[in-house]
Symmetry: C2
Subunit: 153 residues, 2 copies
DNA sequence: CAATCCTGTAACTTATGTTGTTGCGTGGTC
DNA sequence: GACCACGCAACAACATAAGTTACAGGATTG
């Protein structure tokens, strides 16, 4: 499998929607994400079910934000897309008879559990507003900010 | 992709090899792991390159442990199999032009980096001897230990 | 009401990476 | 020399995310 990019894509589009006037169609969003309108609808369905975004049909329809970016964490979005697997590795089979394998699986599962806890905790600690603020900073440093250009001195 | 089970499998087989008299053939090992001899040779090649195991050809050939389980950490084995990807998700593209996407990727990468650091640190903290000891404990509690069987009372 | 727009969803194809399999070469042992 | 076991290449099978096509259904506009 290729690496799952749904989380990143949803974060990306949510920030765009926050800066977007009115509703954005799947096609517009797909263009932002360099993907397909159907993929957009498929993935955003989870966000809609959670009430983070709204979708409207017909003329003037499309997708719009239904909450504040400050109220959305990366974890919320991860949950909304269905909590896909976090790790690329794991045990060989589900309920091994071999006691050695059981011990191995327990050791690996313990490590994974700790990493998962940290991962989820970190995802919960970052809001979409934080990311948007970082974006604003990057935006500013392109023009306004005096960023140690070689002009100095 | 299916979840990568190479790490677990190698841990599993290394402990078996530690308890195994003499060399074990790929076929024997494949039977332990419920897989194929070629898969075993393919995956164990990395362990051999690192000197953790030895392989011999011809009569009486096969695989044998070349170090102590106490000197092997889960991280060593992870490295030996080629450090496959740890996480199942990541950014949508490598060098995005969109500043929003850059900000999103940076936020996700930061979280992933922290989780990776913890994961590698935890993998490094567990030796194969630790896992083998856990196995011994499971072994013991099947027979010797008075484990609240209904015989009690 | 009819035309148009956009979502909702199913079905299928593509892409990528692990795993499984076959075949054969090579070296080591008896 | 016969046999055994690894080494390796090449290919098939499988799982999952992503891309694509097709069409039904609801909403807006005139």
């Amino acid at each position: 499998m290729r690496r799952d990019s749904r989380l990143s894509r949803m974060l990306h589009v949510l920030i765009h929607m926050d800066r977007h006037q009115g509703a954005a169609t799947s096609e517009t969003i797909a263009a932002m994400l360099n993907t397909n309108p159907v993929v957009v609808r498929r993935t955003m369905a989870g966000l809609r079910d959670r009430g983070y975004v709204r979708s409207g049909k017909g003329h003037g329809g499309g997708w719009s934000l239904a909450c504040s970016l400050a109220d959305l964490t990366l974890l919320d979005v991860y949950r909304a897309i269905g909590e896909p697997p976090l790790f690329a590795f794991g045990p060989a089979c589900d309920r091994p008879e071999c006691l050695v394998e059981q011990a191995v699986d327990a050791a690996v599962a313990d490590v994974l559990k700790q990493a998962e806890n940290l991962l989820l905790e970190r995802l919960a600690s970052v809001t979409l507003a934080d990311v948007a603020a970082d974006f604003d900073g990057r935006m500013g440093s392109l023009t306004g900010h005096s960023c140690q250009s070689r002009k100095a001195g």
